[in-house]
């Protein structure tokens, strides 16, 4: 068992799946020769040749659209969008085609494609390099949306995504690409898409988070537990479809709910979770289900970004407010 960071876990998983299934192709801007701007695909072109791992022109609609065609004609395309902000030129392909080909053709064609994209803030980047767009994808019928938070999950979820018969948007929290390492089995394993994980059980409040936010909540929990507040932390893992059962059971137990996300607040992913909690656990609620989120603003450039980012202190503050309600 090797100790890997998130980027290494991605690289290992891609190599493993390419080895196993000759239909898997990995491609995108700078993905081939260079091995990706984040080095997620390093070595793959050398190992599998440039038909299986290749560079594309700077052309997001082109590369996603071509993925639809490759999938229809028997391949399993794993495309990389360099930063999630640059999926916008491909949004038409994703929304109008990737997600729709199966329904449009009543099952004759499907698009078992994975679109990987680093997302989220905290790396002191330029404009368009820090956004969290999971809610945009969650609102599109026909897409699955997955976000891992650890190297182990990255491998298990990415394996599932590649093997899934439907399109998966695989969003990678770039801020923790290299933040920490974890033991990851060398052999193939899967983590089911559509299932959340109870990271830590607790009794006073249910906190749902994903991606880089999971660690921030974990840090907050350390302090809170010392003060006698018991938090149940759920890592959502799959943004769409949401694992209602795990969340609802937890809220029925704790009576309190907080969702923490980096995405902007309005019409964001937190709203959906709150609506579900209302629908299924209304009578258990002891305080308003709440959200701690990015502000409804454009993620600021570095000299203002610290205000936007959610830190453990704010999570503690918010949880205490809810407990006190």
């Amino acid at each position: 068992m090797a100790t890997l960071n998130n980027i290494q876990a991605i690289n290992q998983t891609l190599a493993e799946q390419m080895e196993k299934d000759p239909k898997v192709v990995v491609y995108g801007e700078d993905v081939g020769h260079e091995g990706g701007v984040f080095r997620a695909t390093v070595g793959l072109q050398k190992k599998f040749g440039s038909k299986r791992c290749f560079d594309t022109p700077v052309s997001e609609a082109g590369l996603v659209g071509a993925g639809v065609g490759m999938a229809v004609n028997g391949l399993k395309p794993v495309a990389e969008i360099q930063f999630s902000g640059f999926m916008l030129p491909a949004f038409n392909q994703i929304v109008a085609h990737v997600s729709r080909m199966r329904n449009r053709s009543r099952g004759k064609y499907n698009v078992p494609m994975v679109i990987r994209m680093p997302y989220g803030g905290g790396i002191r980047a330029l404009e368009h390099h820090s956004e969290s767009q999971e809610a945009l994808f969650g609102h599109i019928p026909g897409l699955k949306v997955v976000i891992p938070s650890t190297p182990y999950d990255t491998k298990g979820l990415l394996t599932s995504a590649i093997q899934d018969p439907d399109p998966v948007i695989f969003m990678e929290p770039k801020r923790i690409y290299r933040a920490f390492k974890q033991e990851v089995p060398d052999e193939e394993f899967t983590i089911p898409i559509g299932k959340a994980k109870v990271v830590k059980s607790g009794t006073d409040i249910t906190v749902v988070a994903w991606g880089a936010m999971v660690r921030e909540v974990q840090k907050a929990i350390k302090t809170l537990e010392e003060e006698g507040i018991s938090v149940e932390l759920i890592d959502l893992r799959t943004i769409s479809p949401i694992d209602q059962t795990t969340i609802i059971e937890s809220v029925q137990k704790t009576g309190r709910f907080l969702v923490v996300h980096e995405a902007v607040r309005s019409f964001g992913p937190g709203a959906e979770l709150i609506a579900l909690v209302n629908q299924h656990a209304f009578l258990s609620l002891e305080a308003p289900p709440s959200r701690l989120t990015g502000f409804d603003i454009i993620v600021p450039l570095d000299k203002g970004e610290h205000h936007y980012l959610i830190n453990p202190q704010r999570i503690i503050y918010e949880i205490k407010k809810i407990i006190k309600f």
Binding site: G62, G65, A66, G69, D166
Partner: protein, 361 residues
């Protein structure tokens, strides 16, 4: 090579069979068997009749918005006839006759415009992608299919369509560049029917031809008389052969004319003169093709009359079958989004069924 001889920058356009039905480029006349020629003609005629009747059905309130193809049959069947069974057709939305020639049934084609997704589920061995409405996107699908053909070592060629208006979309550019860069076996057909709804070709772009846009991708481009089924056939054939040999994509502009409205919702008198339509009516691909077949001794007025009647009946019967399909079963609107219905969809489906049950009582 036709694409060398007919250089769009030199204002050359390929015509083999002119509007009077005479062969004007004897050396280029494709060697097609009688059967093949008659098959082409029959599908063109079927397309024409189905199209005219489609509009009638719509006027009678029996069909929804219908996209009209009248006049563009050669630009469709000429292409489809040049394809092999193993090749793929990736349409836009105005390729009714091409779909028919490639194996979509008339019922399926109608069913789609009738408002049922099943009309896009072609038979298993029919390699046609569903009609695509979002202009431009289909071209990249075609490129991807071609890339997969190459990666997987198959020798399938992909033929894809776009309109004159569609050439202005960004995806047109991305697809042609991709195809060229990856040397994908794709033939791009621009059906230049002179209008994008009300907007004339002459204003859509400043170039003299659409074919010359090939130069921006370093690939061959050619303008053909799109109402001449033989020219369309010959240019497509050459392009497909080139693609199959591994020599990459080609851009073909088939210059034709939409004799009808844009769709059944459109009123073309707002934006074009009857005169113009009349002038183009004289270039009707069906007339010139029939003349050609007759002059070759392959066809007669009598046979034509009979075929017209047969096809008219067939069209009427097919549409009746379509009408019998009725509404889409509730389950079908839910169950094709994923290989397996996820819990939230099951929940919505069940809740709605419960509601239907309750209000029925």
């Amino acid at each position: 090579m036709l694409t060398k001889k007919y250089d769009p920058l030199k204002r050359k356009k390929l015509t083999i069979l002119d509007e009077t039905g005479s062969i004007v480029e004897k050396t280029l006349e494709p060697e097609l068997s009688k059967d093949k020629l008659l098959e082409m003609y029959k599908v063109m005629l079927l397309g024409r009749i189905a199209d005219i009747k489609g509009v009638q059905f719509q006027r009678q309130g029996r069909m929804l918005t219908y996209v009209i193809n009248k006049g563009q049959e050669a630009a469709q069947v000429g292409v489809a006839a040049a394809m092999e069974k193993r090749d793929w057709l990736v349409p836009g939305f105005r390729e009714f006759s091409a779909l028919l020639y490639r194996g979509a049934t008339l019922e399926q084609s109608y069913l789609y415009w009738y408002g049922n997704e099943l009309g896009s589920k072609f038979n298993d061995d029919v390699k046609i992608l569903p009609v695509n409405i979002t202009i431009g996107a289909q071209l990249n699908h075609a490129v991807g299919i071609g890339m997969a053909s190459d990666i997987l070592g198959k020798d399938e060629v992909v033929v894809t369509y776009i309109g004159d208006g569609g050439t202005s979309e960004g995806e047109f550019h991305e697809a042609l560049n991709f195809a060229a860069v990856f040397n994908a076996p794709v033939v791009f057909i621009i059906q230049n029917n002179h209008y994008a709804i009300s907007f004339p070709r002459s204003k859509q772009t400043k170039t003299l031809t659409l074919a010359q846009k090939a130069i921006a991708y370093g690939i061959p481009g050619i303008q053909v008389d799109g109402n001449d089924p033989l020219a369309v056939y010959a240019a497509t054939k050459e392009a497909i052969e080139r693609a199959r040999k591994g020599d990459g994509p080609t851009l073909i502009e088939a210059e034709t004319y939409r004799l009808g409205a844009h769709t059944t919702s459109d009123d073309p008198t707002i934006y074009r003169e009857d005169k113009e339509v009349e002038a183009w009516s004289k270039k009707d691909p069906l007339i010139r093709f029939k003349t050609y077949l007759t002059s070759k001794g392959y066809w007669s007025d009598k046979e034509d009359e009979k075929l017209n009647e047969e096809l008219a009946d067939y069209v009427t019967e097919s549409f009746k079958k379509v009408e019998k399909t009725g509404l889409i079963p509730l389950e079908d609107i839910f169950k094709y989004h994923f290989a397996e219905m996820p819990p939230h969809l099951v929940e919505q489906y069940e809740e709605y069924k419960a509601y239907l049950q309750e209000v029925k009582e």
